[in-house]
């Protein structure tokens, strides 16, 4: 039996393990927001060009996910949430993750440049750089503001989608960026409030670990208040309209109420109901972002039948 067992020792990776390297769940959010950015833009692109662009934006996002898994393999091994990722589980080596990440980054950027334009390709390249180098390598382990600045990486996709069509930047695409950028801190800090041991064990300086949970609650409220004018303000641009504005007002009111409730609680209250309020706020934050971009898509759809917009 020794022969066969020595054969089985290095768990060989299946195709799915390489797909998992690309963080498919993050990718789905990237696809959605990039698609929204592309569809709300004032002019259209050929459907195949649009499809290819979204595909390569998603591929670029996946590549940066693989680079992140290469760099963070040591952290991922310690945190329960990430232990089963291919690299810490030993199915894919860290070097392989690096190779996949670098190769796919190159393919994604060059192909987006050829399919759409080189401005959007440059934005994609910068996004990959920002996530893999600025966030993963420089900020994540260095400062509790890691996710605030790192959130920029997740905020670029709608801007890239917009650039695919228009070849440039505008107030609308900057505000779409700002919407995700301001949304990221309350979203992740709510998660950090109820995933506490994980981050402290891995030595990642989350705000909850470095400045305490009271400060984190204050920050969640602060960022949620700052987020509201951005989200509502987007409604007054050329891609907004009555439907979006109404949705934004309601969604932000609910989000603010949730943030105030988190702010009012202390740890004792949170322990007794096992962070029910924080968990609900986290789940709602996902819906919040999804519905904002859906409302923008509704406005774009209404415009095609001469409704919607201002």
């Amino acid at each position: 039996m020794t022969e066969t067992s020595s054969y089985e020792q290095p768990m060989e990776a299946g195709f799915g393990d390489y797909v998992a390297l690309l963080k498919p769940r993050v990718m789905s959010l990237v696809v959605f927001t990039a698609l929204a950015g592309l569809l709300v833009a004032p002019v259209g692109v050929h459907p195949i060009v649009g499809f290819a662009s979204i595909l390569f934006i998603a591929l670029g996002a996946g590549a940066s996910g693989a680079l992140n898994m290469w760099w963070d393999a040591d952290i991922d091994q310690v945190m329960r949430r990430t232990q089963s990722r291919p690299v810490p589980a030993g199915r894919v080596t860290a070097d392989e993750a690096l190779a996949v990440g670098v190769a796919l980054s190159g393919i994604a950027v060059v192909m987006l440049g050829l399919a759409a334009n080189f401005f959007s390709a440059a934005l994609l390249a910068f996004t990959i750089f920002f996530y893999a180098v600025v966030y993963s390598m420089w900020l994540k382990r260095a400062t509790p503001q890691n996710i605030v600045i790192g959130g920029a990486a997740g905020a670029f996709p709608p801007m890239i989608g917009w650039a695919v069509v228009t070849g440039g930047v505008s107030i609308e695409s900057v505000l779409m960026f700002a919407l995700i950028f301001m949304w990221t801190p309350p979203h992740f800090w709510a998660l950090a409030l109820f995933m506490k041991e994980d981050y402290s064990r891995a030595g990642v300086p989350m705000l909850t670990v470095t400045h305490g949970r009271r400060v984190t609650r204050n920050h969640i409220l602060g960022y949620t208040i700052a987020l509201a004018p951005v989200a509502v303000g987007l409604g007054f641009t050329s891609i907004g309209g009555p439907v979006y504005l109404a949705a934004a007002v309601v969604l932000n009111a609910i989000f603010l109420i949730g943030a105030v409730r988190i702010w009012q609680r202390d740890e004792g209250a949170a322990e007794t109901d096992r962070y029910a309020v924080e968990k609900r706020f986290f789940r709602y934050s996902l819906l919040y972002l999804f519905l904002h971009f859906s409302a923008l898509l509704v406005e774009a759809g209404l415009k095609t039948v001469e409704l919607g917009g201002w």
Partner: protein, 63 residues
């Protein structure tokens, strides 16, 4: 005991090879589709093999 030729690891490898193969085919199809989209999209493309480009032919009665 029969010799088992098909080990689990072979299935895994086959799955990987199949996946990469299908991806390559899909990529080729996509590039072909992009070519069709770009060519029929009315970009500035001139293809006048074995003949003069109309732009080079002096207009009639120009001299």
């Amino acid at each position: 005991m029969a010799i088992k030729v098909e080990h689990e690891i072979h299935q895994r490898r086959f799955g990987r090879n199949l996946g990469v193969g299908l991806l390559l085919v899909a990529f080729a199809v996509l590039v072909f589709g992009l070519t069709i989209a770009k060519v029929s999209g009315g970009g500035k493309i001139e293809a006048f093999d074995h003949t003069y480009r109309p732009a080079l032919v002096p207009a009639e009665g120009a001299q």
